[in-house]
């Protein structure tokens, strides 16, 4: 079968996503794992682009790569002189964890393959950018309230994180 360039890029991103995710899960050096996670997140952002979700892709890059990943790296650095922590895996846990994960994978795969409605469904997508639409829906329409709640959630999380990580908490 002939691959057009678009598809080629898609599969490239797909492969990159999965490969880097496997690295995240398997590599022992946690700093490498974090950087591998960055690759995964970028790839997912790319996949979003293929899905005509341009705003989502941008947000993914900004929030995940620019925020969460930096946070993780800070965590890695602050919690250890053990950046090169040797992860010791208990055999039973490893085995059963693998079994469970594979079972879940198999189950979900069977769901996908056994759901005929999802085969070759393509209702079509608008080609215009989604940013304006998302902005309107969030700020004017039905997602206003969830948006505000999300903002409060973020505020609470911020305060809570600051409170938990403060040293003085221990001293009181």
């Amino acid at each position: 079968m002939e691959l057009n360039p678009q598809e080629l890029v898609f599969y490239l991103f797909a492969l990159l996503t999965i490969a880097s995710a496997v690295v995240v899960v398997t590599i022992k050096n946690i700093v490498y794992a974090a950087f591998s996670l960055m690759v995964t997140l970028f790839s997912v952002a790319g996949l979003y682009v293929f899905l005509q979700a341009d705003f989502l892709a941008a947000t993914q890059v900004i929030v995940y790569v620019g925020g969460i990943l930096v946070l993780i790296l800070f965590g890695v650095m602050m919690t250890s002189g053990s950046l090169d922590l040797k992860l010791k895996l208990e055999r039973g846990q490893l085995f059963w964890g693998g079994v469970v994960s594979l079972t879940i994978f198999g189950l979900l795969l069977s769901v996908i393959t056994n759901t005929p409605q999802w085969e070759n469904v393509d209702i079509g997508a608008s080609q215009e950018p989604t940013t304006r639409k998302i902005g309107e829906m969030i700020m004017k329409e039905e997602y206003l309230l969830p948006f505000e709640i999300a903002s409060i959630l973020l505020l609470v999380a911020l305060i809570g994180a600051a409170l938990i990580s403060r040293k003085e908490v221990r001293d009181e």
């Binding site: 846990q93 059963w96 964890g97 469970v100 079972t103 879940i104 189950l107």
Partner: protein
Amino acid sequence: MPVVPLISIILVAPLAAFAFFGLLSLTGRNYARQDLVSTAAMLVAFVCAVLLFTNVVADPDKYSHDGAEIHSLTWLPLGSVNFSMGFLFDSVTSVMLLVVTIVSSLVHIFSIGYMHGDPRYPRFFAFLSLFSFSMLFLVVSDNLLGIYIGWELVGVCSYLLIGFWFEQDAPANACKKAFMTTRVGDVGMFIGMMMLFTKFRTLSLYGTDGIFALASNLTTADMTWLSIAGVLIFCGAVGKSAQIPLHTWLPDAMEGPTPVSALIHAATMVAAGVYLTARMFPILTADSSLFIAYVGAITALVAATIAIVRFDIKRVLAYSTISQLGYMMLAIGAGSYVAGLFHLTTHAFFKALLFLGSGSVIHAFHAAHHAHDHDHEHDHAHGDDHAHGDNHAASFDSFGIDPAQDMRHMGGLRHKMPITFVTMLIATLSIAGVPYIFSGFWSKDAVLVEVLYRAISWNSVHHYILFSMAALAAVITAFYMFRLIFMTFTGEPRNQEMHDGAHESPWKMAIPLIILAVLSFPIVNKWSFEKYVKQPAQPHVHAPKHATYDASQDVLHAQLGLSDAHAAEDAHSEDAHHDAAAGHHNPDHDKAHNIVVPLSFVIVIVGIGLSALFYYWRKISADAVAARLRPIYTLLWNKYYFDELYDGVLVALTVAGSKVLGLFDLRFIDGIVNGVGVVVQAGCARVSGWFDNTFVDGLVNLVARITWSIGGRVRRVQTGMIQNYLLAVVGGVVLLILIFRALF
């Protein structure tokens, strides 16, 4: 006047006084003026009794017959049998109510003085109230069950009051003796009641289905049975009224406080036996009547002879009471209900007076005694004569008599205690039967006349014997009663110390004496009594065949119906007894009367004269006569050895039987018990102990061990590592999904 409410008040008032004490006692306190509560209750009852009596006065024709008015309710239906409870009101009830309430009220008032300062003063009055209630309940009950309940209640009160000073041995023993001796009679009475019950299926006395109506239909075949039932019920009266052979408890009961003796052991409770016998009058047969008459006559004579030699003033009165109760029984046994109840009424007053008078003397002597011994305690000296018997017995008394009650220490008291002397003299003249002006003459005369009349009309040897015994007892009565008066009130003081300290009793004690003295005059004479109390018929008493008087004529009158006035009058006297109120037209009755009245003069003169010769003028030395008649004197002094007989035979037999049974218990029962114990210990206990240790404990330990080991393993699940938990959660979810996929 309405009968039921008034009777209810009469019953409730003393009961409420007792309940007041009883409920207050639950809180651990006593009301110091319980005396006022109890006395007020009795006075209320007295007023109601008077109001009820106006009913009888207003309508003597209706109420003069026994069982005139019955108010009865079914109390306890048991299958086909109904036990009823109710009030009976007739002239006899009314008279009894009056007697009981009057004597009880006066004794209450007397006791306020006599018992003053006693440590259990409120309790004494509460017991008096309870007794009054019980006695009144007995009197108004219309059925044998109610009478029996009241009967036992008065027995309990008697027990409580005789043993009022229970700290000492003598009252404690006396109350036990009184209770147990009367109980012997009560057992007989109960068996008699059950005999009647099995026959008639009822315990009600009156009405168409009452015992009397049913008993009157019995044929001659049932006479033996009915006689036995009558005698058994009379057994209860023998115990309660202290007739021979169950009389021994009454003299000992004098250990109780003197007002108690006056109320219970002279006027009311002991008369309850007479009352019961009178109530059962219609079912008495000729045989049971004769039995009752003999018991009464023998009691009258024997008790009188014992009284001659007693020195304890209260013991003399006790034997006198027994003797007079014998007269009443004799009258009823001789077929004269009216004379028996009449003597009961008059005796209640003059004997209560004698007891209260003796109480007054004892009180005075105690006060004197105390003043002599303990000058500083003079204020507290009253009423605790119980303290004396112990303290001074050794110095004054060689026969176990309380010196304050010993007539040999008395003498010349008439100047010291004029009121007591005069009132007691009146009572003594009354009991001795001084003709015409004293009530005792009328009632005793009535008894003698009725017995002699029965003897003449039936030409019965038995009744001649009974009459002679009664007449002899009358002589002796006059003798010993004046002996008491002479020894106590006349002559020189024999114990100067006690005499000097004696003084007249306070007004609280004197007033009841005066009232009772007034009542000892014939306020109610025989004819008026007979007007209000009509003799019930005795359907099963007939004159013997050889009787000179033709009794069949009266029977004929009754059977033909009440065709004329004469028959109507005789309807209640078909036992050939003519109603005295109808006029003395009966020649036999007239004859008896003409013999008895002159005889009474002789009796009184002989009795009093002899007494005066011995104890007033002292022409004859009593000691010399006693020495001459040593065997008789000893016999009398020892009261015919009744107590010794009972001690020697009954008590010894009981003790011996108890010992045998005790040995049986010790050897046999204990042996069995011990043997069983050994077997059980060796066999069962060992086995069961082993079983316990091995299986039961093993089971428990096993459970514990299993739990321990399971816990030890399960513990490891709790690794404390969050990922293990998470693995379990996710694994569980996966497993569930797989299961659902497999199933659906």
